[in-house]
């Protein structure tokens, strides 16, 4: 026997088909329990000239997070949905809000919009917090190496340990077991996100801060690490920043046999070779072929024996649309390049029309 709520749900479904009851409820309460995870923008607080903290009220199904974790945020820029990962810059808050700090990347698509274009009241899409970059709860001695906006997950951890109040930085009991050094690298002083917070934490004696600004101190040399942090061997290192820094740290720590946890946001960059073609992998079919830049993925796939959905074969019927999991394709009609980057574009991939798309570098198709 169905329960009363199940029966009611069936009636609701029958009353709104072909929509789902959720589509109707979304009109009134997009943040309710059971809805797709979304958040309402409460405030956009400027941090520096090109960085801002977004204060978000998440939907009722938000499961919370551990400081240092990141979340994937889906926003519509120029009408197109984009997904990006951002670190949560605080511990769980009493008001239930969450915040992420975003630095506008020059020539970026999403970050400049979040910093300069997003307005309070807007809805954004969310995924639950994720990531292994979290402090061990039992405490210990740590070194944080952060560069540029890589400071954001670290700020999350520090704010949770040492909440900042009007009366100054607090040092609750849970922070007593942690001994923390922060080495922060940035191109120059004013661009440092959370510079004030870091300085305040250092002044309060909560952490030992080593700031390194390229324009003042020259490019940072990893060989100086043991000199700046004499007890490096006793510390666990957490690093977040550009791939170059993380790769160098990995080599450095491996040579010394030291533990290292890193946080990377971007998968390796997708190579775009317009007109050059590339390897095309049909994931589920287990087929991999070399396609040139002038042959449609539909033709190439069919020639390789892949069961491709198709229709008009001229770009009008949308019968051939399949998800591009990773990689880049070029529109044969106008050369427009579509890129799918796991972690940045939609989780299931970016839907593309195979009949008018050719490979522009390596690509993976969900077929």
């Amino acid at each position: 026997m169905p329960t009363v709520s199940e029966a009611l749900m069936r009636v609701a479904e029958a009353a709104v088909t072909p929509l789902m009851p959720a589509d109707v409820l979304d009109l009134f309460d997009p943040l309710r329990k059971g809805a797709d995870l979304r958040a309402r923008v409460v405030a956009v607080q400027p941090e520096t000239a090109d960085a801002a903290t977004l204060l978000l009220k998440p939907g009722k199904d938000w499961r919370g997070h551990v400081p240092g974790q990141f979340l994937r945020l889906g926003v519509d820029v120029d009408g197109v949905r984009h997904w990006r990962a951002y670190s949560l810059t605080h511990g769980p808050r009493r008001d239930g809000l969450i915040s992420v700090t975003v630095k506008a990347v020059p020539d970026g698509v999403v970050s400049p919009y979040l910093v300069h274009g997003l307005r309070p009241g807007a809805l954004v899409h969310l995924e639950q917090a994720d990531g292994e970059f979290v402090l061990p709860p039992e405490g210990g001695k740590h070194l944080f190496v952060t560069a540029g906006s890589g400071i954001t997950p670290v700020i999350g951890m520090l704010r949770n340990l040492f909440p900042a109040t009007d009366a100054g930085v607090l040092r609750p009991g849970r922070s007593a077991e942690h001994d923390i050094v922060v080495l922060h690298l940035a191109p120059s002083r004013p661009e440092t996100i959370f510079a004030r917070d870091l300085a305040a934490l250092a002044e309060a004696g909560a952490v030992r801060l080593i700031s390194h600004y390229d324009d003042e101190h020259g490019l940072f040399d990893l060989a100086r690490l043991t000199e700046l942090v004499p007890d490096l061997a006793e510390r666990g290192t957490f690093a977040c920043g550009p791939a170059g820094l993380l790769d160098a740290l990995e080599t450095h720590h491996e040579a010394l046999g030291l533990p290292l946890t890193t946080e990377r946001f971007r998968a390796s960059f997708v190579g775009v070779d317009a007109g050059e073609g590339g390897e095309v992998v049909f994931d589920r079919s287990g087929v991999s072929i070399e396609a040139d830049g002038a042959t449609s993925l539909l033709d190439a796939g069919e020639a390789a024996g892949v069961l491709m959905p198709s229709g008009c074969r001229m770009g009008i019927c949308f019968g051939c649309v399949v998800p591009l999991r990773e990689g880049a394709v070029r529109d044969l009609r106008n050369g427009a390049v579509t890129v799918a980057t796991p972690g940045e574009t939609a989780a299931g991939g970016v839907p593309i029309q195979t009949c008018i798309s050719a490979a522009a570098g390596r690509c993976e198709i969900d077929l």
Binding site: V11, A14, A15, V16, T17, P18, L19, D23, V24, L27, D76, V77, D78, G79, V80, R81, H82, G311, C312, M314, G315, I316, C317, F318, G319, V321, R333, N334, A336, T345, A346, V350, P351, Q353
Partner: protein, 414 residues
């Protein structure tokens, strides 16, 4: 109409192959302009339309709970009719064309959309997007030419069955959504196949369509009347739902008839279409094979911008809200290449389309050769053509066409 290759004056005879390719390049440029400027305001447009449609439908259904009071019945029925029209025309049809896929919003995407119609999204996308939009107006290839039940072109051979087509057309208009569902399934052709020999694909799609019809009918004719029953409004609600579906069917049928059936719209011969038709040639076929409805912004919205049928057929995947700004550029291109841009107000186009349905229900030449004085003989001839088998029909047909030709020649000489 007659396929253009058999016309005394072929409307594209003056175009060189280079002209045709140039038309293709210029149309591509118009398309690219829209793609380059497509953005947040377009996304806001479709979201606003979807939001408005859903609120209108909910509000109308709420009002119908009180439909024992006639003013509430009228208000609710009008609202529901408008909501259903918007849902099918400006939203469903266009979303399923992939016009909004660029937003990458899984909630408004051709691969996930399902509409309030007896036809399944899958069936519609095949018969409409793929067959009709690719083979537009090619006799024998584009089933939209008469939907397989009507004769809308001189080059479709006359059969006595077509005498009833004004009636079939009216019945089809009233139950258009079911007509479309049957048509998407190619029901006529498939039902002629013995039951045990029907393809698995047909059986799967037929049962999906039946399930869809059951769901839609349950919603309109069972669930909502029952919800209204406590207010004593079960029957008025049922009638209101039926009326709204009828209004939506009549409206969408009229709009769609205006797209390709008005007099002057061209059709094409299957064997005259090259195997590897170029983009330019395809564009020209779309230009000649469609007709527009002129009117207000509200008219464009309620037709789902199919009032810009020509622009829609040239650029089926451009967002519908942009057809209006593209139309003057397209029209200028028609003028530049001396082609006929068919555009008229709705009543005129509906009349023209119906006129063709009636005219072609009769054998070619019959109406032309009939006068008041010879009417009795002509009726006798028609009766003979309808009852005496194919041989008599062919002979009489030849005579009719001969007489019609002679009359045309005499008229021209005079």
């Amino acid at each position: 109409m007659t396929v253009i290759t058999k016309k005394p004056v072929n409307p594209i005879a003056h175009l060189t192959p280079e002209d045709i390719e140039q038309i293709g390049i210029e149309l591509d440029a118009i398309r690219q302009d829209v793609l380059d400027s497509r953005g947040a305001s377009d996304a806001a447009y479709i979201r606003r339309i979807v939001d408005t449609q859903r609120r209108l439908e909910l509000a109308s259904r709420a009002v119908l709970l009180g439909s024992v009071f006639p003013p509430a019945w009228i208000l609710g029925t009008v609202g529901l009719s408008v909501a259903k029209i918007l849902e099918n025309m400006e939203i469903g049809h266009n979303v399923m064309h992939g016009q909004w896929d660029w937003m990458r919003d899984p909630k408004i995407h051709s691969t996930t959309w399902e509409w309030d119609n007896a036809s399944t999204a899958e069936g519609w996308k095949h018969s409409h997007n793929e067959v009709h939009h690719t083979y537009t107006n090619i006799v024998g290839k584009d089933n939209d030419l008469g939907y397989g039940i009507m004769r809308v072109d001189e080059d479709q051979r006359w059969h006595p069955m077509y005498l009833g087509q004004p009636l079939w057309n009216f019945i089809n208009a009233c139950f258009f959504e079911y007509g479309i569902a049957a048509y998407d399934l190619e029901l006529g052709r498939n039902l002629r196949v013995p039951k045990d020999k029907r393809s698995e694909e047909f059986k799967r799609r037929a049962s999906a369509t039946l399930a869809k019809i059951r769901k839609q009918a349950t919603k309109d004719y069972v669930v909502h009347p029952l919800l209204a029953a406590p207010f004593g409004a079960a029957l008025p609600t049922l009638v209101a739902n039926f009326t709204a579906n009828l209004v939506r069917n009549l409206w969408s049928h009229s709009v769609i008839m205006c797209g390709h059936f008005p007099e002057g719209v061209e059709t094409f011969e299957r064997k005259a279409i090259p195997a590897n038709e170029t983009r330019g040639e395809w564009y020209v076929r779309q230009m000649l094979g469609s007709a527009n409805i002129s009117g207000s912004k509200l008219m464009h919205l309620m037709t789902g911008n199919l009032s810009h049928q020509i622009e829609h057929h040239l650029f089926p995947d451009l967002p519908s809200n942009r057809y209006a700004e593209v139309a003057p550029k397209v029209q200028a291109l028609f003028e530049k290449y001396d082609l006929s841009y068919h555009q008229a107000p709705l009543p005129q186009q509906v009349y023209s389309a119906w006129h063709r349905v009636v005219r072609l229900s009769l054998p070619n030449g019959w109406l032309e050769t009939t006068t008041v004085t010879n009417a009795p003989q002509q009726l006798k001839l028609l009766y003979a053509m309808s009852t005496k088998g194919p041989k008599v029909r062919r002979a009489a047909q030849a005579r009719l066409e001969q007489t019609a030709r002679r009359r045309r020649a005499e008229a021209a000489a005079a």
